[in-house]
């Protein structure tokens, strides 16, 4: 299977604090790769580095053959990042927001329309897309942002806590959207501290704690390895 993203010995320090101490993993084409760990484990820092928001202190990140340090612009063309608790511009309508974002990726007006139509279908917000984002509920904003992240069918979609702060119904809908797009061949790298959610979504997972990857594998492989009924127990066992 083709490797889309390769992360090797990734390090990040903030002053004297070592947030990442040599994180390594790979994401293959068409898979959902989940990073799971408690708060402060280094999940968001890893995703922010891959998204070109933070610069790494050491190690290597390669996406489709492009090195992060040498080609951050190429990374931005190939990825789509949905941060945790992200927002949209409150004074723009949902449609204006999608048009604004699609114009960064689309070379032609036809391609832009194609992206917008795809986003409209993903978001399922109907006529509310013509209203200002400031009037949306949290769930609606999250769906709009997820639609934005997926509309260009990027090489790698990076989702940080995709269902954070959402109710059960909205969380289920968001998970379904991610699953559906993964089946269409999109590679997804997501992080969550909700291990059951990651178990449901991910093809493979990496357990991360205090800036170190504890183990990597499919949820089934990990459950068998640690003789655990779910990933929560796997994580506790891996810590020991």
């Amino acid at each position: 299977m083709k490797t889309v993203l390769q992360v090797d010995g990734l390090k990040k320090t903030y002053g004297t604090l070592e947030a990442l101490k040599g994180v390594s993993f790979e994401v293959h084409e068409g898979e959902i790769f989940g990073l799971i760990g408690p708060n402060g484990a280094g999940k968001t820092t890893t995703l922010r580095i891959i998204s070109t928001l933070l610069s790494p202190s050491g190690g290597m990140v390669v996406l489709n053959g492009f090195d992060l340090k040498k080609n951050p612009e190429k990374f931005r063309e190939l990825i789509s990042y949905l941060p945790e608790e992200a927002g949209a511009y409150r004074n723009l309508t949902g449609m204006d927001y999608l048009r604004f974002m699609s114009n960064f990726y689309a070379e032609t007006a036809e391609r832009s329309e194609e992206y917008i139509n795809r986003a409209v279908a993903i978001a399922e917000l109907g006529n509310r897309l013509d209203e200002k984002v400031g009037t949306y509920s949290k769930g609606m904003v999250r769906k709009l942002l997820l639609a934005r992240a997926l509309m260009t069918k990027p090489v790698l979609t990076i989702l940080d806590e995709p269902t954070s702060g959402l109710d059960v119904i909205n969380s289920m809908e968001v998970r379904e959207i991610i699953k559906k797009f993964s089946r269409e061949g999109i590679s997804v790298l997501l992080s969550s501290h909700n291990m059951l959610e990651v178990e449901f979504l991910s093809s493979r997972v990496a357990l991360i704690n205090r800036g170190i990857i504890l183990d990597t594998g499919t949820p089934q492989e990990l459950k068998e390895k640690y003789s655990a009924p779910n990933l929560e127990v796997v994580f506790r066992s891996a810590l020991q």
């Binding site: 998204s51 928001l53 933070l54 990825i79 608790e85 409150r90 960064f104 942002l145």
Partner: protein
């Protein structure tokens, strides 16, 4: 460029809100209203004013005094009462604002040069312009009558002499020299005319700088507060374009807002100044001295203003990065306001050349000082100072843009914060 204009369009859409329109319309309306009110008051002050008169003398001199009052646009109404107390009470009850009491024997005592004062009573029914102007006019009338009486006396005693030469044996002819041009006139009236003509420049500048800076700081802070900055930084557009789009949008909206404010201000000033006659000869003096801005002068002033706006926008961009949210952004505007206020007040109340060297260096190091000084430097043809000021501002701007672009290209755009409690910068 397509991506840049996409971003610029969004930035402008974000800034031009209904609230901004309402605020601008309200301000124009308010300025217009105040201007019209002031105009009305001034007109009222210039219309025929009633003066109640109790003439207990009835001499030719008292009649001459009242004729002079009529010439000064006063409507003289004789009090029907016999005594002073009753006259005061009667005037108080009427709508007259002035009461003039000419005592008996006034004409005779004046002809003997024995002092016998006339009495004036001003009823202050409000503190408006028209309410206070009457007593000043009356004072001028008394002065004119004094001059008339003394001139008359001197003419009788010294028929071959000009009374004015006797009263003012030393006369002066005042000349004003600017560079190599000279004109006859008073330095104070030239200064106050130039001041009144150029007062509007620092006001425009201050408004544009504060407006645009506030917009940039708020735009960046709002991106942080609404959690949209992280997404924006991961889309395929250069970081420099993100910084420039924000600066350009804020500059454009700030400029348009300032122009709209100035239209309102013009209404206000127009209302205030429209009916005030300007001394005719001052125009000639100003023309002779070359103290009016030529087309080239306006272009130079425009370049200086533009350079200052660029500096303000770049400075605001850096400060905006330090803000965590919209509230902290408002506090961060304070340094910009101070940097604008210092040269603003210095340009009004002090002469740069009379300041001590360290203070002068400090003031000149503030980039916003230069456009404040530009008007007088253009008028006084100190072109070297203007060009050096513009050059300094452009260098200052380039350094700030470099710093801003560096910040946006690194982690610092997300990690740099100003912690007020710890009072230090965190990187």
């Amino acid at each position: 460029m397509k991506k840049f204009f996409n971003l610029l369009r969004k930035e402008i859409k974000e800034l031009v809100t209904l609230q901004l329109f309402i605020s601008l319309l309200f301000t124009i309306g308010l300025f217009y209203f105040i201007g019209q009110m002031a105009k009305k008051e001034i007109k009222k002050a210039m219309t025929v004013q009633k003066v109640s008169v109790l003439d207990l003398d009835q001499s030719p001199l008292s009649k001459s005094l009242l004729d002079n009052l009529r010439l000064m646009n006063f409507q003289v109404e004789f009090s029907k009462t016999a005594g002073q107390e009753e006259a005061i009470q009667s005037a108080k009850d009427s709508d007259a604002n002035l009461l003039l009491v000419i005592p008996g024997g006034f004409g005779e005592s004046v002809s003997k040069f024995e002092m016998q004062p006339i009495e004036t009573y001003t009823f202050l029914r409000s503190f408006s312009i028209s309410g206070t102007k009457n007593s000043a006019i009356l004072g001028a009338v008394v002065k004119a009558v004094n001059s008339y009486i003394s001139d008359d006396f001197l003419k009788k005693k010294f028929p071959d002499m000009n009374p004015d030469n006797l009263k003012n044996p030393i006369k002066s002819r005042d000349y004003v020299i600017v560079k190599n041009r000279m004109a006859e006139g008073s330095a104070s009236s030239v200064t106050s005319f130039v001041y009144s003509q150029s007062i509007v420049v620092p006001i425009i500048l201050m408004m544009i700088i504060i407006y645009s800076s506030q917009m940039v700081i708020s735009a960046i802070a709002m991106e942080k507060q609404n959690k949209t900055l992280e997404t924006l930084l991961t889309v395929p557009i250069g970081r420099t374009s993100i910084v420039s789009a924000k600066m350009l949008a804020s500059g454009l909206v700030g400029l348009i807002s300032a122009i709209i404010y100035m239209i309102g201000f013009k209404y206000y000033m127009g209302g205030l100044m429209s009916d005030v006659p300007v001394a005719a000869n001052i125009g000639n003096v100003i023309h002779k001295l070359g103290l009016s801005l030529s087309a080239n002068g306006y272009i130079l002033l425009g370049i200086s203003l533009f350079a200052a706006i660029l500096c303000a926008l770049a400075l605001a961009t850096i400060l905006g990065v330090l803000a965590e949210d919209y509230r902290s952004a408002q506090s961060l505007l304070m340094p910009v306001i101070f940097l604008v206020m210092i040269p603003y007040f210095i340009s009004f109340f002090s002469d740069m050349n009379s300041l001590s060297v360290p203070l002068k260096v400090f003031i000149l190091a503030i980039p916003f000082t230069h456009p404040f000084l530009a008007t007088q430097n253009i008028l006084l043809e100190n072109y070297q100072s203007i060009f050096l000021g513009i050059l300094y501002m452009l260098i200052f701007f380039a350094v700030l843009v470099f710093i801003a672009a560096r910040i946006f290209s690194t982690d610092k755009v997300l990690t740099m914060k100003l912690k007020w409690r710890r009072k230090r910068l965190l990187f």
